[in-house]
């Protein structure tokens, strides 16, 4: 059984990726994490300038989940290109660069800067960052804003480099946002980013995060991610979907594929187990091998059973 797959014209060695921000920029991971064994490593979201991030605490544990508010800390695009990307490439990772900014023009500039950079096989647009155009609503919450940013990025990205728009599961109508992104030139979508959430520390009576609210990730949100994947695949069956949200095992990955994902990315699970990506990949391959049709046969099969 072959594990490789072509998404939006780009070949990936397999369908299990590291989700944005959850393999860091890679160099931090112990050798067991074996980045080269993953279909792709999606970087944390790279911003135009270096950012220190938000105030502590930046994280709190919740039942089967995690809320975080990091504020996209990182060295900015130049630091990333000088230092982090070469390391990833040297270590055999297939790199998808995630980008985030506060306005469409800055997204465009990031895309422009990534053009022709050796080793960038795709771009993922993080649309969950608040954008100034909207009075600080994340663009993923608004089809118009999202489409505008996708358009700016697509125009500034080399033709052979696919662009994925990363959407939110807690928007009123994810299908209309996905349609707007596709209309604006997105080659695929990543579903879903962390869900807006909050923690309160009952002992102190204060918000658990320094930034008050944050993103909920982990197994808790898997049902929300499956629903998003299901809805978008039903509406846009040919659109490549990279699914994330609580994937921890090969079974989780298979469920995402059955709902309509072409690939899955592992996020929170990597934080507590750096080898989770490789394990998910192996388990998924095992599940596919025990069924007819292999990995490709899993894709969207839950829809077939239902419409049959």
């Amino acid at each position: 059984m072959t594990e490789d797959v072509v998404l939006a014209g780009q070949r990936f060695a397999n369908r299990v990726f590291a989700a944005a921000g959850c393999a860091g920029t890679g160099r931090e991971l112990p050798a067991q994490a074996n980045l080269a064994g993953l279909g792709a490593v999606i970087t944390r979201s790279i911003t135009p300038e270096a950012r220190a991030g938000l105030a502590a605490p930046r994280i709190a544990e919740t039942p089967s989940g995690l809320i975080n508010a990091l504020g996209l800390p990182g060295p900015g695009i130049e630091g990333f290109l000088a230092d982090e990307l070469p390391w990833l490439v040297d270590h055999g990772a297939a790199v998808i660069v995630s980008i985030a900014a506060e306005q469409a023009a800055d997204y465009a500039r990031l895309a422009q800067r990534l053009r022709q950079v050796e080793g960038v096989i795709a771009v993922e647009i993080n649309l969950s960052n608040p954008v100034t155009e909207s009075g600080r609503l994340p663009a993923a919450m608004d089809a118009g804003l999202a489409g505008g940013i996708v358009h700016a990025v697509r125009r500034n990205t080399a033709a052979g480099t696919p662009v994925f728009a990363k959407l939110s599961g807690d928007t009123t109508d994810i299908v209309s946002v996905a349609r707007a992104c596709v209309g604006a030139g997105a080659d695929g979508v990543s579903l879903i980013n962390a869900v807006r959430g909050m923690g309160i520390d009952a002992a102190t009576g204060k918000p658990a995060l320094g930034a008050w609210t944050g993103g909920l990730s982990g197994p808790a949100i898997k049902p929300i991610a499956l629903r998003a994947v299901w809805e978008v695949h039903a509406a846009l069956p040919d659109l490549p979907i990279i699914a994330s949200g609580g994937v921890r095992t090969g079974t989780d990955a298979a469920e995402m594929m059955m709902a309509g994902a072409s690939a899955v990315s592992v996020g929170t699970a990597l934080l507590s187990d750096p080898t989770a990506g490789i394990r998910v990949r192996e388990e998924l391959a095992g599940i596919a091998a025990r069924r007819e049709g292999g990995l490709q046969g899993l894709l969207g099969c839950a829809h077939q059973e239902v419409t049959a």
């Binding site: 950012r51 220190a52 991030g53 800390p73 982990g218 990597l270």
Partner: protein
Amino acid sequence: MSQAGQWTATVMARRDTGDYAVVTLSAGTDTSTARPGQFVSVKVAGPDSALLLRRAMWIGEATASGREGGTIEVVADLREPGGAWLAAQPQSARVDVIGPLGRPFSLPRDPTTCLLIGFETATAALVKLAEDLVSRGCRVRFLLLGQNVAYGALTARRFSSEIMDSSGRITSPRDATLSQLDDSVEVVYSAGTTEQLQPVGQILMGKGVAHQAAVETPLVCGSRTCTLCALPVRGRDGVTRMVRACTEGPVFQGDFVRWDDLGTVPGDCLGASEEIR
């Protein structure tokens, strides 16, 4: 165990001290190379658990070899879900551990007098430190703060006659630290949460005493991935950066930590924007 790795430990024993339990884990290999101030990261639950994240634990006593290779002791807080889970594991249960992690304390080149300040479970971080200092001819003095310092106190008694513990006699960590700082003390080692160490760090700042602080901060991946453990630290170049406690720490030089600004991203920090509180 000298290099960080992921291994399966076996629970050898548990003994309780107040609200804490001392858990002995066997590592299957030589554990005596773990350095004082280092920690392990423990997966505190099984696949059906609602607890997702690992818990960091200071390495206390570490022996080179026991029945099943070397062992380490960790002190688990029974009042916290993670600590309670670890303590509840029966003998010979298997536990997923990553470690040893982090930059250890540095030891003084010449024999000198050291003040070791430990809070609660973090006193465990001082156990191997005291042993190493004494074996280098240093004099060690202890200040143990909190309700549950019995584990640290046991070591303290082995290596020092100058022990002050907090059972009711101390007004504040600040005053207690001051009261122990006479001219003989050249190095202070401290261990505790950032909140606990803040007054200690503040009072020592600029006092001319070397201060090495081993800090407990929220710590998730333990491997420089998540940036969740970052705190503001001034570099030798004078520039403040948000620095990851899990890998550039947990031990910091006290004078470089921005104690007054913990929990914030200071405005003069590299990459800070004004919008950040």
